[in-house]
């Protein structure tokens, strides 16, 4: 590196020289140049620098700026942000409010799928499903024709496979029911051509923004909502309120997910408390919850807002406990159903002797899912020194950690009757066998375990320094973790103050995740964003549907997961549509670039000079073509240089 520096005179070549070898190949002891240090800090503590950000950091000094980011309460929030996220109202509601106002079936809708219990008693249903032909005919006999039809329509067609008499009737009942449903569905949500005349349909489907605005203004509110429901969401990418109204008619709970996704992108784009937002993304991903496994949707906003956000710069123990107790986690890793095997062998709850199958799904025992992932993914790490016996003991300790009022006002409750009272030993510690205390003690043991200090420190260093961070740095962070009782702000301070953090080894060492890629490019372009629905869609197209990671690992923390041909192609496609102004809700400010040459545009977007190779490719490829600044911007954002941070 030193040799290279001596031989290359031009300052611009110097920057390119760093890119040459800057993929974490040692040299964690060599400091970056002052300008690079500023960019490095911005690239790691924010979702990407905006024009003007480097000057601001230079003005304050890196140390002071980093310290401010570590104390977000001292940073005045961007006044614009509040207005942007205000309409995303589920982000500001309690789970109970969300459940009331965003039900799983559209409000006022006919009960389309009747539950068996509402039609006939469960023993009738059971005989109808599994009885002999005689038994089935006998239970059907007393039913009036309407009930008989409803009951038959509920039974799976295979159940009548050897009874042609009933099969035909059930089939007819099922068809009739389907037709009825479709009729109701059509009445509530008529297709576009029944709502509008031909010209209006054309305007709605293919019109520009003004035409759609005019059309919506012309329609009465009921019809307006029906039209919105009939249009694909892409057509409403610029009409947040209509999108919401239309979705309310079709699928209210989809609004919850959309609010979360759109809110995340807005915050990443606009908050002044960038580090806090980066950390919320990091810790949500660490304690990943998938939005659609059980009933997570209505509680997910609260999970991020109430369990994650308040603790990202606090003590790890509190963060861990808040997630352990949150209904979102209790649902997602099944702990809400986990109980001592004999917990329900009581009074009328007990299963009848000899019953082979329970008529309905009913949990009756231990579930290991949370116990395992708590140690493997949340605290110790897979090689953190636990056994299958520990997994079972932890699951027992948490039995009874469940959800009160799951369908109306979900909140954590410890249900003593579900708790396993057998003796438990976790990682060599005998638990007090004192109800809820068992789980609390496990959280305590895990939060203070040396493996946890190492595992968390390494993961943070991986996010902020390099995919394979130097062990000595991880060790120092782990030491801080242990000394400060898991004070996450102190651990981050140790990392940000380290030589490694602002070293050549860390320069451009991180491949951007799709969220980072999308948000950093919009920030770099200094664009104004009025609607993030389309941007969130782009993040999903690049492989990271927000709140949509099914597995509890969360999304990859390192470049290996993102670096592939599909990802590269997707990023180029995104860059081109962004720069050519084709992404709904993103308003570009072009005047900044007019009249600038490609190298200058590249410097502005990257914050430093592009690599020699990128500049040459731009120069040669655009020679004599008088390219628009948009085209150049698209190429720069597509370039290898922009894929790293």
């Amino acid at each position: 590196m030193r040799l290279l520096r001596l031989t290359i005179v031009s300052v611009t070549f110097l920057a390119a020289g760093f890119l040459f070898t800057g993929n974490g190949s040692g040299r964690f002891d060599t400091k970056l140049s002052p300008d690079q240090q500023i960019l490095q800090a911005l690239n790691r503590l924010t979702f990407g620098p905006r024009p003007g950000d480097p000057d601001e950091v230079r003005r304050l000094g890196i140390e002071k700026w980093v310290d401010l980011q570590l104390h977000p309460d001292r940073i005045p929030e961007n006044p614009v942000l509040e207005g942007k996220v205000k309409p995303l109202e589920t982000l500001h509601m309690t789970p109970a409010e969300i459940l009331r106002e965003y039900p799983s079936t559209p409000p006022g809708f006919m009960q389309m799928s009747m539950r068996p219990n509402d039609v006939v008693p469960s023993d009738v249903m059971r005989k109808l499903t599994t009885g002999t032909l005689e038994e089935r005919l006998a239970v059907l006999k007393p039913l009036d024709p309407e009930k008989r039809r409803q009951a038959l329509a509920l039974v799976s067609p295979q159940a009548f496979s050897c009874m042609p008499e009933l099969q035909k009737e059930a089939e007819t009942a099922r068809q009739a029911q389907n037709e009825e449903r479709q009729k109701e569905f059509r009445r509530r949500m008529p297709p576009l051509n029944e709502l509008l005349n031909q010209d209006q349909v054309a305007a709605a489907m293919r019109g520009n923004q003004e035409q759609l605005t005019a059309l919506f203004a012309y329609l009465d509110p009921v019809k307006r909502q029906q039209v919105a429901a009939a249009l694909p969401p892409q057509s409403l990418a610029e009409f947040a309120e209509m999108r919401r109204q239309g979705m309310m008619l079709r699928q209210p709970q989809q609004i919850i997910t959309n609010d979360l996704r759109e809110g995340k992108v807005f915050r990443a784009l606009y908050t002044n408390r960038q580090l806090e937002e980066v950390l919320v993304d990091f810790w949500f991903n660490h304690f990943n919850v998938y939005e659609a496994k059980n009933s997570e949707r209505p509680v997910l906003a609260s999970f991020e807002r109430d369990a994650i956000r308040p603790h990202v710069l606090g003590h790890f123990h509190d963060l861990l406990l808040a997630t352990a107790r949150h209904p979102a986690m209790l649902y997602y890793l099944d702990n809400w159903e986990s109980m001592a095997p004999d917990a329900l062998d009581i009074g009328p709850l007990a299963a009848p002797a000899g019953a082979l199958r329970q008529p309905q799904r009913q949990p009756r025992g231990l579930n290991e899912n949370y116990g395992r992932e708590l140690m493997e993914l949340h605290t110790l790490g897979v090689n953190g020194g636990y056994t299958q016996q520990d997994v079972i003991a932890v699951a027992r300790a948490f039995s009874g950690w469940t959800i009160r009022k799951p369908n109306t006002a979900p909140e954590f409750v410890f249900a003593g009757f579900m708790h396993d009272t057998e003796e438990k030993v976790v990682l060599g510690h005998k638990l007090p066998n004192n109800g809820e205390q068992d789980g609390l003690q496990v959280i305590d043991i895990l939060a203070h375990h040396p493996s946890t200090a190492k595992f968390i420190s390494r993961k943070l260093a991986q996010r902020f320094v390099a995919d394979d961070p130097p062990q000595s740095l991880v060790d120092r962070m782990a030491e801080t973790f242990t000394k400060t009782d898991g004070d996450l702000r102190a651990v981050l301070q140790t990392m940000f103050n380290s030589t490694e953090f602002l070293s050549e080894g860390a320069w451009q060492a991180k491949m951007k995740s799709p969220l980072e890629m999308v948000v950093s490019s919009v920030r770099a372009m200094g664009a104004d964003v009025t609607d993030t629905w389309a941007l969130a869609q782009k993040v999903a197209d690049l492989g990271e549907p927000l709140y949509g990671k099914v597995e509890p690992t969360g999304y990859p923390n390192t470049g290996d997961g993102w670096l592939n041909t599909a990802g590269i192609m997707g990023r180029m496609t995104f860059a081109n549509s962004l720069a050519s102004g084709q992404i709904a809700g993103v308003k570009l400010k072009q005047q900044d670039w007019e009249g600038k040459d490609p190298a200058a545009i590249a410097r502005q977007l990257l914050g430093h000079d592009a690599s020699v190779q990128t500049r040459e490719a731009l120069e040669k490829g655009l020679e004599g073509k008088e390219p628009s600044s948009r085209l150049v911007a698209g190429l720069v954002i597509s370039s290898p240089d922009f894929q790293r941070r």
Partner: protein
């Protein structure tokens, strides 16, 4: 439908217009005359519950362990009790039966194209999804290698090698296919292109010359693949044999793309697709029913579409481990050990359940709770790699694995 030769001639002409030297294409055309063997790997992420995918209905113990979620045998039998009780398993050999939703696979079993290998898995005891997936995809139980077994199974790059030789359907390149040999990930063939030709050409130069070696390699692979895919996707695709991919969910959509590539004769040697959502800790019957319906329909659509070309194809399915033999308290199952693999294709000696069945009695279970592993997953993959892909150096693909006796999965 156009013939293979027509396509190759036609596309070579257009390719020349794009500017890339199409010499490999002429060579691929050469190669296509001989038979090109193709291995398709399907990963079921989340640990599929093998005992409810292929049901050991002759074991009374199965129904004792699974009173609520057990699938009745073909005659409705449940171990010692008999009687109709929901949809029954589809008999394979009097001992094992397919989950009722896998009905579309029965025809392939009867045609002797489908084999099941029971009690397969890894000698490593981990019950972590993520470790187990890494180990299986690396082909190195107990440790994660930087590259994957299927990448190492491919011959080194030669004059016949196509940019599309190894392809994963999805937005990520799975570990199975990572490594020295070029391998690409494609999410959707229809949108696998970028901007105008001018834009594409500038970006191609940028990436091909990039000092960032990893981005350079990925970029090069992407542009080479893009050019070919552009050719392939110009017309509509009409699957053969009336195959209905759309009912097969995401896996169906991805296998359709694999089929399209294979039929375009562009030199595919290995393909990978995955299907997630098998981690059924609770409410398993309803979820498994859904997943297996799509799974069965996707595989059978693929076989139908490929028709006679199945003679050149072997498809193998795997999952990181099986699940507990006993159901848990939530009508689900927890992380277990032994699982199963399916092997499908023309060269397969199908219609048979392979592997030694270890039994479900307490003392027969692994650690008293999970189906034991009697066949190392590497034994199955190893046979396919040597027998089908003609990779003779098994030590390179599965370092440290000592192959004992052959299962005889393939017709020789």
């Amino acid at each position: 439908m156009m013939t293979r030769r027509w396509f190759l001639r036609g596309s070579a002409v257009v390719m020349a217009g794009i500017g890339a030297a199409p010499s490999w294409l002429a060579r691929a055309a050469e190669g296509a005359r001989g038979k090109r063997k193709i291995l398709v790997a399907i990963f079921q992420r989340g640990a599929a519950d093998s005992l409810n995918v292929v049901i050991p209905f002759s074991e009374k113990r199965y129904y004792e362990l699974r009173p609520n979620i057990g699938i009745p045998g073909p005659g409705g039998q449940r171990g010692d009790t008999a009687g109709p009780n929901g949809p029954n398993a589809i008999d394979l050999d009097g001992q094992f039966g397919l989950h009722p939703q896998l009905e579309p696979l029965k025809a392939l079993w009867d045609k002797k194209q489908l084999a099941i290998v029971e009690a397969t898995g890894s000698p490593d005891p981990t019950r972590s999804h993520f470790d187990a997936q890494d180990y299986m995809e690396s082909g190195t139980p107990g440790k994660t290698a930087g590259d994957g077994w299927l990448n190492r199974a491919l011959p080194p790059v030669g004059p016949q090698t196509s940019p599309l030789r190894a392809i994963a359907m999805g937005s990520q390149l799975p570990r199975t296919l990572r490594g020295d040999r070029p391998a690409i990930a494609v999410n959707d063939m229809q949108t696998f292109q970028v901007g105008s030709e001018d834009t594409a050409s500038i970006l191609e130069t940028m990436y091909s010359n990039s000092p960032d070696l990893r981005l350079e390699k990925t970029g090069k692979d992407a542009f080479a693949a893009m050019k070919m895919i552009k050719q392939i996707t110009q017309g509509p695709y009409n699957p053969g044999g009336n195959a209905q991919y759309f009912q097969g969910g995401e896996l169906g959509r991805n296998l359709q793309q694999v089929a399209r590539l294979i039929k375009a004769d562009v030199g595919v040697e290995a393909a990978f697709a995955e299907v997630g959502g098998w981690d059924h800790h609770g409410n398993e019957p309803a979820q498994l029913t859904n997943l297996l319906r799509q799974f069965g329909l996707a595989l059978s659509a693929f076989a139908q579409d490929m028709g006679d070309r199945m003679e050149d194809i072997v498809l193998v399915t795997m999952s990181e481990f099986g699940r507990t033999a006993q159901e848990n308290g939530d009508n689900g199952t927890d992380h277990g050990h032994g699982g199963l693999m399916m092997v499908l294709g023309g060269p397969v000696r199908g219609g048979k359940v392979y592997g030694r069945w270890p039994g479900l009695a307490h003392e027969q279970l692994y650690e008293g709770r999970d189906l034991a592993v009697t066949t190392d997953f590497r034994a199955v993959l190893g046979e396919l790699v040597t027998g089908h892909l003609a990779q003779s150096d098994i030590g390179q693909v599965f370092p440290g694995f000592e192959k004992r006796e052959s299962l005889g999965l393939l017709r020789s």
